[in-house]
Amino acid sequence: MTDEEVVRLIQNGDKEKFGEIVERYQEKLFWYVKGVINQNNEEVEDVVQEVFLSSYENILSFDCNKKFSSWIYRIAHNKAIDTFKKKRVKKESIEDYDEFFGNDDKLLEELQIDKEKEESVEKAINKLELKYKEVVRLYYFDQKSYDEISDILRIPTGNVGVLLFRAKSILKKELKKYG
């Protein structure tokens, strides 16, 4: 069953089905929010919980002909930005690198970086401005298309490419410092 079909059931009154949405997205949203706000796990979990509660409240506004993942990521983006503004990012890096990077090596390949230098890449990503960090996170780690990123961040599709290009240039420069 697709996300949109599950949501249609919820909209028609099957509230229990929301648990399925939580299960499908809690892990993905956890790493997305963590990548943006860079806080400890408990705080990230609180934000993710707020994301689900807010999506449940607003579920009747979702148009089932559109992509649900973009819709819920948009809510996560808003909540993460609110938290980011309130708390300001700590300058420490994220633990659990393997989990953070998942199995995706596309960024490492494009930056021509060895797998062993993954930690340096993560540090460099954390130093990026929020707008770049989010695009990198969504494109490389959450495997979102330009169109989906455009829907999540509410920016023109063309700007997604520009932001990614600039982010990669900054990352390359930054990584040269690490050697």
């Binding site: 509230k15 929301f18 796990n41 689900f52 009747l60 023109p156 063309g158």
Partner: protein
């Protein structure tokens, strides 16, 4: 992720600590946004028409004949507040338009150009009608 938040969320839903907002609430919100944009747009057209009217009333071609004195009168009596109003309304208009529907996908400059052209065209149409 350490804790499973599924249970916690379903508990809140069951206990009705959290509830779905009704469909009409979203329809109303969207209608207010679109209606607000139309009102703002028409206000922009009205302000633009008033600016044109006051500039015409100054009669710049006649003032030109009086040289620096005419220029001084023109500078003193120019409807600056109306021009400022047109600019503020125009910018708010573009910002609001970019928040409606899927307009965020469009380039903000193109949206701006679209609003500007529409405002100018309607101002010309209204001035022709009111003659």
């Amino acid at each position: 992720m350490d804790k499973n938040i599924r249970k916690e969320i379903l508990r809140k839903i069951k206990n009705e600590e959290v509830a779905m907002k009704p469909k009409w609430w979203f329809v109303l919100k969207e209608s207010l946004l679109r209606g607000g944009w139309i009102v703002l747009f028409l206000t922009g057209v009205l302000l633009m028409s008033l600016t044109v009217y006051f500039v015409k009333r100054l009669n710049p071609t006649e003032l030109w004949e009086f040289g620096s004195l005419g220029a001084e009168v023109f500078i003193q009596d120019f409807p600056y507040w109306f021009v400022a109003g047109v600019i503020i309304i125009f910018l708010s208009n573009v910002m609001l338009l970019s928040k409606i529907g899927e307009n965020y996908k469009r380039n903000i400059r193109i949206l701006g150009a679209w609003v500007a052209v529409l405002t100018i065209v309607l101002t010309i149409v209204f001035s022709l009608i009111s003659r």
